[in-house]
Symmetry: C2
Subunit: 421 residues, 2 copies
């Protein structure tokens, strides 16, 4: 374990000292710094930091955040395109960007994404380790640590590790009646490594060392979720519960080692009627640590529109207490998204997050303001408040008239204002 | 009131006689005809009929249905375009189409939409009456009746009338603190007519005659909703409750006159945390008659993506018991939608309906089948089950390779199948 040269954010918060980042996040969220400090100290909220950029808070009492995944795949390598996607993601409101590149010059792609954005960046170290080795079997624990150190050193604010799977769970998984097995890519690499070598999880074996690296650089640990359901017919099974329990324990251990933690859970494909109950279970079992969910997708047949199905699932999850949503694009299950689909995905999940916040915290001022501008047909100010002003203007300009072509002179609002005056 | 030449569907159902349409709908829905017959007789389900086309059931125990609005506005008149939209709506799964044309040759547009589609069609008679008169003030009750008779005669399976507003409610509305007043176009015409003339609601004055026309032709009465909220900051107020109460009473009266009834309610803009409770209230207060909701939109700031916000609200409403969703397109609040936006709106609401059905009735077979095809990478059969197969194929073909460009050779499913075997 590395020796820490200075007290990091979590350690300061636990001692009741208010780091500048806490004040900044509290200001951005309209929360009292004292309240936020307590939430951070309790591990119920985390703060992602990036040199010279505004810090970002994720967790209890804070606005629900949205992550956008970008990055080359092994088959489709266009670094310029991925940088463009990261910029589009930030432009349309993604709170964080995760670079999942597995093809091409990965270090360079990350560096360029960093230069082009200002939001916190996340990586999944096993992706780069596998891509650079060409296979998972030849990777050593030492190499994983080196990759984590490199990515944190290059400026990642957070890394995802799949530490909560054991050989025993994989044996249970073999026996399970799941339709879909493992749909987490990082989780499948880690599992395949374990099964091929017959060795325990390398992230688990090196957990304290990983925490040392993160504590030193004040980076956030995201505890990955390997066992999530890959279709809504697969319920939360014993393996999923076992991973959740273990992630809950690892989260505590990481906090004790001075590392801020986000728990990835639930996510994947979940029957809509079970989303609130599963979220509540995760939050309770992980002592209300920040919960990161992918989607979830409440149905399987929305192929080509998984951003919409996912927006419904994400809104329900956020409303029930999830703190951080990983977006899904229209390309999910089909192809690597293009830049337009990244925009669609981000906006769909900004909508989900905002709906979730309205459920968690009650009505938000933006909606009331938009309604007031709508009533007086002040289009400019409506666009300013819209999640994606560009799209709203594109659609409206198609009409070409001063009024809205939907109703034209028969605008209900205008008619009633005339007659109710 | 017209003299009925034969017993209609509702009258037969009440006498326990099973009309062929009941058998056909029961077959399509996988329900016992005897159960459906009782639901129809109790007014808890309705059957929309169209000469020579399959009948459609809406209500309790049945799949949630989706309506798509098309039609010219006063400002944008392109009959070909509206026919194309109606065809696209049916192609992508709309269960019904409502023609709201207010410009151009309205009779001809309806006739052409009818020729081009096979789903039940709905009209809003006050729209055509106003469009043809040029203003609402000059319309008489007799003209409204003639328009209804004409539209039903031309083949409308259902008409919408805004009968549940009174002058007293409009006085209350003037005093209310709502941000948005009335956002229902048909409702605003009716209200303006009443306020301008100082006369009671013409749909209410002629209610029994309207029922006579519908009973004779076996058409479904849709009781419109004028007082729905136009923004999420406007809660369900006294005027909304008064309209709901009156619609509940009118529904009973119409049933007694041999007319099948759908109640429009809630809809519009509703805080997401209140959607389930409002749906439950409507269902209970209207004796569990089929509930038709527009959207609802759970936030106001999703301008340009109201189909996505509406999909979230529609899914929540359907899951809580709404039976029939009116779609919203990306153009809502901005412009008349184009044909691509009609497709987007229909698919977003098919997703909402399917999620709602999963909540109401539990998992559906289609999702499990899709997951099984996904597991074995059988793309053809996945596309067959997708809500919009064309879109799924478009996105996938962009990838160009045999595998999915998202993960390429690092497909989690494939890796785990190899290793868990």
């Amino acid at each position: 374990m590395s020796i820490q040269s200075r007290e990091n954010l979590l350690q300061a918060a636990i001692r009741g000292i208010e780091p500048p980042a806490v004040r900044m996040v509290a200001g951005a969220e309209g929360l009292s710094p004292a309240v936020l400090l307590k939430l951070v100290a309790a591990g119920r909220a985390v703060i992602m930091q990036r040199d010279g950029k505004p810090p970002l808070g994720i967790g209890e009492g804070l606005r629900t955040k949205v992550n956008a995944n970008v990055g080359t795949s092994a088959d489709l390598i266009d670094p310029d395109g991925e940088v463009e996607k990261a910029m589009a993601a930030e432009k349309y409101g993604a709170d964080t960007v995760t670079d999942l590149s597995m093809g091409g010059p990965i270090d360079e792609i990350f560096r360029r994404i960093k230069e082009a954005t200002s939001v916190p960046l996340t990586t999944v170290p096993i992706y780069q380790a596998v891509a650079e080795k060409g296979s998972f079997s030849s990777i050593t624990g030492g190499e994983i640590l080196r990759t984590i150190r490199k990515q944190i050193g290059a400026g990642a604010s957070s890394v995802v590790v799949h530490a909560a799977i054991t050989l025993e769970m994989l044996v249970d998984l073999k026996r399970s009646k799941r339709i879909m097995g493992v749909v987490s890519k990082g989780g499948s690499f880690t599992s395949a490594w374990m099964l091929q070598k017959g060795e325990e999880n390398p992230f688990l074996s090196h957990f304290d060392e990983i925490c040392g690296v993160l504590a030193e650089r004040d980076a956030v640990l995201s505890l990955g979720n390997t066992m999530r359901s890959g279709c809504i017919s697969d319920p939360m099974d014993a393996v999923q519960v076992a991973e959740m329990e273990m992630n809950a324990d690892l989260a505590k251990r990481a906090n004790d080692l001075g590392v801020q933690v986000i728990v990835e859970g639930m996510g994947g494909h979940v029957r809509p009627d079970r989303i609130p109950e599963y979220v509540a279970l995760y939050k309770r079992r992980t002592s209300f640590r920040p919960l990161f969910v992918a989607g979830p997708l409440p149905i399987d047949i929305g192929v080509g529109y998984d951003h919409i199905s996912g927006s419904v699932g994400g809104a329900m999850a956020a409303g029930a207490g999830a703190d951080y949503l990983c977006y899904i694009t229209p390309s999910e299950h089909l192809a690597l998204p293009d830049v337009g689909q990244v925009r669609e995905g981000v906006v769909a999940f900004k909508i989900a997050a905002h709906i979730g916040d309205t459920m968690k915290y009650g009505p938000r001022l933006e909606d009331e303001m938009l309604a007031r501008y709508r009533r007086v047909r002040d289009w400019e100010n409506q666009f300013k408040l819209a999640i994606d002003a560009d799209r709203a203007m594109e659609i409206r300009s198609r009409g070409g008239t001063d009024g809205c072509t939907m109703c034209g002179k028969y605008c209900a609002i205008a008619i009633m204002e005339d007659h109710l005056r």
